[in-house]
Amino acid sequence: MPDGLQFRHKKSDYPFLLPAVIIVAVMTQVPFLMTLIFSFIRWNLSRPDMARVFYGLRNYTYFLRIRSLSELHQFYGVFFQTVVITLMTLLFCSILGFLLAILFDHQVPGVNIARTLILGPFFVMSTASGVIWKTTILNTTFGWYGVIAKALGMTPVDLISYYPKATVIALFTWQWLPFFFLVILAGLQGIDKDLVDCARIDGANWWQTTFKIKLPLIVNHLQVAIMLGLVFVIKEFGLILTTTAGGPGTRSYTLPYYVYMEIFSASNVGRAGALATMTVLLTLVLVNLIYRSIQRRNAQYR
């Protein structure tokens, strides 16, 4: 934009921006700051007799304090589970998403229809996919899993109670893989066809073309998918509620689920605030790690 134009109009365009900024701030930033404040306050909804007082870091130390290594607070377990579930989901989404995208990058008649089918689960509401999987697929007596296992002469174990984490990871992957697939496929289709031809002339076989040429060329897309996937997977709540309900015990709790339980079962606003704050911290740390690696890569390319 020419500087002359800029100086002639002194007035700026905040009126376009402010309504959105105000609403977003009021509905996200302000509540988050309040959450932060709550996390330093003793506040239990079920105990109106107890005054709300400044509580220092005690809401945090309640979860974080280590009395003895054998008796860690369950927070550590939940934290660990959250990280494992999120990272495993992202890992599976990346690997399977890449392989699937490679497969669907071929020119097969009507491949667009097939691609669209893969995309489906991404747009299914989490609670619906939870109940559908739970009742029609994973159910040991009436679900496909149970029926097929029996037909093969095996006794189906209840995956939801025996392998809750694996089940949650599998279902998260089912929901989020399409997104990875879509992004990676876009990356693959953006690859210059000449590069692939050139690799063929250089004598690269399928394996070399896929992992030494194509994979490095879509790493940026993959990283973006991982970053966005992370942001959304770490929030995921409905699928856990409808399948394992965090159970058995707390074996498939994640941090958002823990916050939910802390506020609606334990009614402890202060502690829930501390948990929510730590969830945000975890998100920020992980996002930051990925973002930095993207930046590093981009710097390398230039």
């Binding site: 376009f16 921006l17 071929h106 689960p121 709540f237 409808t242 399948t243 704050t277 998100t283």
Partner: protein, 288 residues
């Protein structure tokens, strides 16, 4: 002699290729159908009676009675109406507020050059915020101001949390429009508001429609806030679906029909947005 042998080689090569593409097609469609199967089966089970639905079969005598029953259910009507309310007003408000913001970020003039970039980053970071981080204060405020269990309370959060997505997507589509067009329009005497409405919006039409559809899908599917900020008369479809979680193997047909009705619009809308989804959410980020 040479002629014959090359024809043979040609034929066998053609056959091999045909076989390969056949195998590939089988693999592609096999994987796709298997992946989609839970949704497909849900759709099909809605055409079963409860007795039929107990056993997993794909082939059966279809009936419309289950869909009829679910669609005729006043509870279902209530949830459907609540969801539609949120989606319609939510999407419209998100677009109405988000488009000007994106417009100002891309084409606006501010005292400092880096201002628009800062706002853009700020909008994006709010997407990072998990809903648990906002739920607690909202819950306590809403209780205090009697907003809990009202459609307006939920709508306000939805608009607040989904505007950034509109800004993000529309931003990347606006960025494709050459700035000179607006300079020309300005010389023609177009006000800033007219420039947005008459030039930017029509040019970024497809992107805006996609952003709207995507936000509609997100709001339609949103569960956590809807679950915690609403009660019986105001709850949305995802909350309704969650209620089926305790019914081990019962009402499978009804569940399938209900979830099909809840899922289908989102899946169809979602399919329509797929191209823009990649462009809007990824293109900017890939460039770094």
């Amino acid at each position: 002699m040479a002629k014959n042998s090359i024809d043979e080689v040609r034929q066998s090569a053609a056959l091999r290729r045909l076989f390969r593409s056949f195998l590939l097609a089988v693999l592609v469609y096999g994987v796709a159908v298997l992946y989609f199967f839970p949704i497909l089966y849900m759709f099909l089970s809605g055409f079963k009676t409860e007795a039929q639905a107990v056993n997993p079969h794909i082939f059966f005598k279809p009936t419309f009675s289950t869909y009829q029953k679910v669609l005729g259910d006043p509870t279902m009507h209530q949830y459907l109406k609540n969801s539609l309310f949120q989606v319609c007003f939510g999407t419209i408000l998100c677009l109405a507020l988000g488009i000007p913001a994106a417009f100002a970020i891309v084409f606006g003039r501010f005292n400092k050059k880096e201002t628009p970039g800062k706002f853009y980053v700020w909008f994006i970071t709010t997407i990072l915020l998990p809903p648990v981080a906002v739920l607690i204060p909202l819950f306590t405020w809403y209780q205090k101001f009697n907003l809990i269990n009202t459609p307006w309370g939920l709508l306000a959060v939805y608009v607040g949390t989904h505007i950034p997505i509109v800004v993000w997507m529309v931003h990347s589509f606006f960025s494709d429009i050459p700035k000179e067009i607006f300079e020309a329009a300005e010389i023609d005497g177009c006000t800033k508001f007219q420039q947005m409405l008459r030039i930017a919006v029509p040019l970024a039409r497809t992107g805006i429609i996609s952003a709207g559809l995507l936000v509609a899908v997100f709001i339609w599917n949103e569960f956590f806030l809807g679950f915690n900020l609403t009660g019986n008369p105001t709850a949305t479809l995802p909350v309704y679906m969650a209620r089926f979680r305790e019914q081990q193997g019962q009402f499978v047909a009804q569940l399938s029909a209900a979830s099909t009705i809840s899922v289908l619009p989102a899946v169809i809308f979602g399919w329509l947005t797929q191209k823009a989804l990649v462009k809007g959410l990824v293109a900017g980020a890939v460039k770094g």
